[in-house]
Symmetry: C2
C-alpha cells in the first residue's frame, strides 16, 4: 500500500529495498489494527504484528501517534495526486468532491481520520491531509481562472466543500453523493 | 458546572440532591483529567479523582467513552441555550458564529471535542452537539423568515458556518473572529 514517497521524510532506505518492505509491513499492520478497531495500539503491539522489533519503531517515530498520523495521511490521499480536469469548474469540483466523499466515508477511512484527529497538535501545526487538499483546490481554481470562469476562491472551496465533508465524516453524520453535490452547488452559488 | 438538565437522560436523582452533587463531582473530575491532557482516562481513575466508587460509574454509563461524550456535550453547549436575536439574519449569524468560535477554540474545549470525535459511533448515530446546533440554526432561520429577510437554509447554515468552524478546531487549523465573519459573509452570498 504505501509508496516510497509517502514516507520520504522518515524512510532511510532505497525504494524497493529491505527498508521499504519493512515500512510496508508496518503500515499494513497499523492499518489492520485500526481497521479491526483495536483498543490499544502501541509500539509493541504493532511490532509483533509487523514481525519487527519494537526498537525499529522507537528509532523511526517519536511516538505511536506520529506513526498513526503518517499512516493515516498515506491512506487518505490515495484517490489521486491531481485534482480532476474536466473542462469546467463545476465539473472539476463535482468530480473531486464525489471522489473525496466516497473515499473518506468508508469505515476504515473513518477510523483513520478519527485516529488522526485525536493525534493532532494545537492550532498552527501543519496538517498534511489539509495541505494536500489545499494544493488540489489551488489547481481547480487556477484552471477555472485560466478558462475565464467565475470561480470561488481557494479558501471558499476548502471551507465550504472540503470542511463539511470531513466534518460530517468525523462527527459520524454520514456523507453521500447527494451531500457532496449540494456542497458544490452552494459554493458555486456564492459567486453567481 | 453541569446543570441537572444536561444529565436528564441518565441522572436518577432530584436536582440539587446527593445524586446531583455526585454527578457534578464526576463531571468536574472528567473535565480536569481531559484538561490536564491525561493519557488514560478510565473509570477507576475518574472514580478516585471524584471520590466515588468505580461501581457508581459502571452502573450509570456503559463505558468511559459514553461518559466522556456526555461531559463534552455539557461543556460544549454552555455559551447559551438560544441563538442570538439581534434583528437581522446577518447580525444573528455573526453573533452566533463569534460566540461558537470563541467557545470551541479554547484549549480545554478543543480537547473535549477531540475526545468526543474519537468516541463517536458510525454514521446515523445521533450527535447531541450537532443536534443542539441544528436547533439553534432553525431558530435563526425562522426569525429571518418571520422578518421577511432572504436567508440561507438551515442546512446551509450548518454546512457552511458550523461545519467549517468545528472542522478547523478538530484538525488544529485555528479559528478566530475574522474566520467566523468570513464564513457568515460566504453563506449570505449564497442567497444574494
Amino acid at each position: 500500500m504505501p509508496s516510497s514517497e509517502t514516507s520520504a521524510g522518515t524512510s532511510a532506505g532505497r525504494p524497493g529495498g529491505r527498508s521499504s518492505r519493512v515500512l510496508a509491513s508496518i503500515y499494513e499492520s497499523v492499518g489492520a489494527l485500526v481497521g479491526e478497531g483495536a483498543e490499544r495500539i502501541t509500539f509493541p503491539v504493532i511490532a509483533e504484528r509487523a514481525g519487527v522489533t519494537p526498537t525499529t519503531l522507537y528509532r523511526r517515530w517519536d511516538d505511536v501517534d506520529a506513526l498513526l498520523e503518517e499512516v493515516a495521511v498515506a491512506a487518505l490521499t490515495r484517490e489521486g495526486e491531481s485534482a480532476p480536469d474536466t473542462g469546467s469548474v463545476e465539473g472539476d469540483l463535482t468530480a473531486w468532491a464525489l471522489a473525496i466523499a466516497r473515499d473518506i466515508s468508508r469505515p476504515e477511512r473513518v477510523r483513520y481520520l478519527r485516529a488522526m484527529v485525536a493525534a493532532r497538535g494545537g492550532p498552527g501545526a501543519s496538517c498534511p491531509v489539509t495541505d494536500r487538499r489545499q494544493d488540489q483546490a489551488r489547481e481547480v481554481v487556477r484552471h477555472a481562472v485560466e478558462r475565464g470562469e467565475k470561480t470561488p476562491s481557494v479558501d471558499q472551496v476548502l471551507d465550504h466543500v472540503i470542511a463539511p465533508l470531513y466534518h460530517h465524516v468525523v462527527f459520524g453524520l454520514g456523507v453521500d453523493d447527494a451531500y457532496a453535490r449540494r456542497l458544490v452547488a452552494d459554493v458555486l452559488a456564492m459567486v453567481r
